[in-house]
């Protein structure tokens, strides 16, 4: 139910006090906080505005309408990593499962020390995390979780492994299982639902379908940005925006790409981190009907901080995609969709990636990523733990996302399997750290409050700032940092 946004229909010049580029978890918080403080804020979003009343009907439609590049995004490398990003008003919060988690305390405290981040610690971030939880109504789902979750509970009891219940940003989630394609009921509390709508009422201006491609610089000051807007007919129009302050919140890939394309390159886009993830398609000797239920609302935290096990959104289309990974070995599962479920092993990646804009194709930067040796070991361990876990849940056949793999029928098959991770079909929905924050100018792109080193009025407000992989869903951390940094900016600029 986004209202009052507008699209550009001709070449346009605009001005504002604060320009925010990107309307995801970070950009929406900054736009909301500054607009509510009475600032003249213009929020630009590359993708369309989609309210829950016109949410996509199917997962396929959702992927094409809301996911960047229709979901065809990949970090290249020896083992490529497919990744997903939201490209719509609300960004990733429109296509994620709305799982809200704090980064581990010891990690936050270590980042403060290692990256020399001022006034930063688990205790210092606590009030901002609390604000995130309040804003998004983060809580446990109250009614039955459903069989895909129950199977995890059963396996955890059997193995004696630690299992956490996941809190989600929701108000009366009724379990449509459509989280990856926005929420058709409005139960999921995305940032467009909770922040952008109320900021619009406070005078925020929102322009959708507009991509900013260059920041204009004069000495140590950014004086504006230029871009291309698309109208309802798909025609492009130039847009020039003058501003006094600019927050770039285009995500861990497109924020560094925009900065680098604008000639701002020092420590920008050299340290991308992510959570490499492998999935297992599990078949049970009974109906699970995962397509009719919520994604599993538990996570196995027994092997944290480096490895986490959980469950994925399961729709007929995503099931089909899982079969396509190794069609010959999985084709026979097609009529048995109701007996299947999808689970994952996620690793706190230590590898590094780079983002580089491509001349003549600014919308699609080149992303590369190299797994660290420790990532490979953790992925093998994680996959074997997950297989062990799913057999304990009662699975009769398991198919890991490894090219050419024939699947496992017994726990012994897993024990004796030498897994070759270079054959893995890796994916991730968590990307960060491409412009880390801190006073260590050799490693950090931005200062302790997100201001880009060496520039007076350019700020970053998204996952790029998170110094390292947090090992948990990053949305709450992105938002907590954005609340903290917006508050600091308002203190300095008379908020």
């Amino acid at each position: 139910m986004i209202t009052s946004h507008f699209c550009i229909t001709d070449n346009t010049a605009l001005s504002c006090d604060v320009l925010v580029i990107g309307s995801g978890a970070g950009g929406a918080v900054v736009a909301h906080e500054l607009a509510c403080a009475g600032k003249d804020v213009l929020l630009i979003e590359e993708g369309p505005a989609i309210g829950h009343d016109n949410a996509p009907l199917s997962a396929a439609e959702g992927v094409a309408r809301l996911w960047r590049n229709g979901g065809m995004t990949v970090a290249l490398g020896r083992t490529p990593v497919a990744y997903a990003e939201g490209r719509c008003v609300g960004g990733g919060t429109e296509i994620n499962s709305a799982i809200i988690q704090r980064a581990p305390d010891e990690l936050l405290d270590r980042w403060a020390h290692d990256y020399r981040i001022h006034a930063f610690s688990a205790a210092a971030l606590e009030p901002y995390y609390d604000k995130v939880y309040r804003t998004l109504s983060a809580s446990m789902v109250e009614d039955a979780f459903g069989p895909p979750s129950d199977l995890m509970r059963k396996a955890a009891d059997k193995k004696g492994w630690r299992l956490d219940t996941l809190e989600r940003a929701h108000i009366t989630c009724v379990g449509t299982n459509m989280c990856a394609s926005s929420c058709p009921t409005g139960g999921k509390q995305s940032v467009s639902q909770r922040l952008i709508r109320s900021a619009l009422a406070k005078g925020l201006r929102l322009i959708a379908q507009t991509r900013m491609h260059t920041l204009k610089r004069h000495g140590h000051v950014i004086i504006g940005a230029t871009g291309l807007a698309r109208d309802a007919r798909g025609r492009s129009h130039n847009i020039n925006i003058k501003c006094k302050t600019i927050f770039v919140a285009a995500g861990a890939i497109h924020t560094p790409a925009l900065l680098r394309a604008s000639g701002i390159t020092k420590t920008i886009g050299n340290s991308l981190r992510l959570h490499p993830t492998m999935k297992i398609l599990a078949r049970f000797p009974f109906d699970v009907n995962a397509q009719d239920h919520r994604l599993p609302l538990y996570a196995v935290t027994e092997f944290m901080p480096m490895i986490r096990l959980g469950g994925s959104i399961f729709t007929p289309g995503f099931f089909g995609m899982a079969l396509a990974e190794q069609w010959q070995a999985r084709e026979h599962l097609l009529p048995h969709m109701r007996q299947c479920g999808m689970y994952y092993a996620m690793v706190r990646g230590q590898g590094l990636g780079r983002i580089r804009p491509v001349l003549g194709n600014r919308a699609n930067p080149l992303v590369t990523y190299a797994l660290a040796d420790s990532d490979k070991n953790h992925l093998v361990q994680g996959l074997k733990h997950l297989a062990d876990f799913m057999f304990a849940a009662g699975a009769s056949e398991l198919y890991p996302s490894l090219a050419g793999h024939k699947g496992w029928r017994t726990p012994q098959d897993v024990v004796h399997d030498t897994l070759n991770i270079t054959q893995a079909n890796l994916m991730t929905v968590h990307l960060f750290s491409s412009c880390p924050m801190g006073e260590d100018k050799v490693r950090c792109a931005a200062d302790s409050y997100g201001r880009v080193h060496g520039l007076d009025n350019l700020y970053i407000a998204d996952a790029s700032l998170i110094p390292e992989a947090p090992g948990v869903n990053p949305q709450a951390t992105i938002m907590a940092l954005a609340y903290r940094n917006a508050e600091n900016w308002l203190t300095q600029h008379g908020g």
Partner: protein, 137 residues
């Protein structure tokens, strides 16, 4: 029989033979899956789209030259090429993935799977949530 484009020809090979469909339903799904893939390829970054386009032409040529006529023969040709290296494997996996995504989410397949119609599904859930909200203190 209408002449198939290279894309439609590949989609036909990757479309599963389950569940059983009438000719009309099959043609409708084939055409909708092709339309979905067309949209996807327009959204794809150049460094994926370019090799995809080249491999699409290559596979179409290979299928013609192989003389494989039946669906089963053509599938055997594709399976053989799938074992011939990572680029071919990746191309086939991606093509099949997108085909199966659109195929399995198609309303006619959904009907065959005894899943509720999309519109009705969403309306039911909206009504359910509305009722819950009305009972909230």
């Amino acid at each position: 029989m209408p002449l198939l484009t290279p894309q439609a020809r590949l989609i036909k090979i990757f479309m599963p033979s389950w569940p059983e469909l009438s000719d009309d339903a099959y043609q409708k799904i084939l055409s909708d899956v092709a339309a979905f893939l067309k949209i996807e390829f327009t959204l794809t970054p150049w460094f994926i789209a370019l090799p995809m386009a080249l491999l699409q032409i290559l596979f179409s040529t290979v299928l013609t030259l192989s003389g494989a006529r039946s669906q089963a023969e053509q599938q055997r040709v594709i399976t053989h090429w799938e074992r011939c290296g990572v680029p071919f494997q990746a191309f086939i996996r991606l093509y099949r993935s997108l085909t199966l995504l659109a195929y399995m989410e198609h309303p006619l397949i959904r009907e065959k799977l005894d899943l509720p119609d999309y519109q009705a599904h969403q309306e039911n859930f909206r009504a359910k949530r509305h009722a819950l909200l009305n009972h909230m203190p």
